[in-house]
Symmetry: C2
Subunit: 281 residues, 2 copies
Amino acid sequence: MSIEIVSEQRCHGGTQGIYQHASDATGGNMRFSVFVPPAAGDGKYPALYFLAGLTCTEETFIIKAGAQRLAAELGLVLVAPDTSPRDTGLDGATGDWEFGEGAGFYVDATQAPWSTRFNMHRYVAEELPALVEAHFPVDPSRRGIFGHSMGGHGALTLALRHPGRYRSVSAFAPIVSPAQVPWGRKAFPRYLGEDETTWRGWDATALVEDGHRFDGEILIDQGEADRFLEAQLQPERFASACRDARQALRLRMQAGYDHSYWFIQTFIDDHLRHHARALEG
Amino acid sequence: MSIEIVSEQRCHGGTQGIYQHASDATGGNMRFSVFVPPAAGDGKYPALYFLAGLTCTEETFIIKAGAQRLAAELGLVLVAPDTSPRDTGLDGATGDWEFGEGAGFYVDATQAPWSTRFNMHRYVAEELPALVEAHFPVDPSRRGIFGHSMGGHGALTLALRHPGRYRSVSAFAPIVSPAQVPWGRKAFPRYLGEDETTWRGWDATALVEDGHRFDGEILIDQGEADRFLEAQLQPERFASACRDARQALRLRMQAGYDHSYWFIQTFIDDHLRHHARALEG
């Protein structure tokens, strides 16, 4: 499990790096970014994973979210993978921003030909943490996860599928029920097949309905001026399922904010503090 | 003097906008960005102008510098113009990142054909402030200016050429003596002609040597791991001129930092506070 340094640059007293490696889960080269805060104490930090949305890469969050300043202060390592395998050469994998490269949806595909490469769930849940924990000063017992839009869906489903693996979870404008909205209903048949019962394992709302829980409060921020709110996001579906299941959820509707990283950077400090509280000590 | 809204988005309780307009100074359409903090008090804010470096646009600073959070708190309007006219159609204006489009050097060109369009000094010093002060809630008596690399050169020369126009000035990794380094010695003959005596009016170090002063302390941050430090930046030239002239300067060498916006975002808060102190009330 070796990694190659693409770049490492000083930032807020720490190091912002981009790395690449040969990935088993996705059958090709993957890139990810890591911010390591200034060295302090015993040098082991919690690792907070950020999953980005459709069309994004491992660079989007680190450039646009403004997270490093407070992460340096709080002592959080920030890890951001790419959103899918790249250069897959698969017919239909490029040219549509809602499916294929840049749109991995954090599932493990079961359908040919996607199942050979599009296994972002396994990549993010298993391969990437093993790699990060081998190469960076992080404490494997203190992981958090958050994300945006498709990546918010990824964060919620990973946290719900793997009890105990993450101490904290949050999301910005997440897709909370892909099985019920156009983005998911377009991508899931190709990745997962036509049997919709198999989709429930990749749908945060269905996971809560089916008994999965996260041991802690889930934080979600959602802009009210988000153009995807009504058709694709529908956070009330998840809120309703959490209410019925007594799953702790803090859903904050933010007046005037849209789906962009201007929205994310406005509330990033709240999310970092939410995670830091759960990841302390 | 009308402007067209390209986009306006909520950010940190204020508005991050991009605008375009027909420019007299540059003979074509120009874009600029404005961040307006949350409304408060009488609604008139100081305006802080940021000039970006080679290859950048009106979007670079607003996306990469992480300035809006503290600007919202301090009540600063942030204005960032593009770095040159665009779509000029002039032979030789594109294809070279060190000259022409994206490389206006904040001068008023005197040489054909560049003098028809490449008048970024007049644009930034006169046309843009008039436009901003007509359309945004800013106080014309409270302007500050800063910039990066080529834009640091722009900020220093504008502040030194126009006493009283700016209450505060600072720079990240500025070109302090373009007449003495390869970037300037390549661009200035084409914009300004072969007579090097005319270049002194566009060279911060020469301006100080020739008696120009800024009424206040100039702040400069410079990364020691900046790959352009020795050949292109040479801040000691400016420091030496300021020392001889008793011009107040605070030059901070920052160990480990390079020329990137990771460096800028690390020290942006210090610069915003430097300007806010001078721009208060």
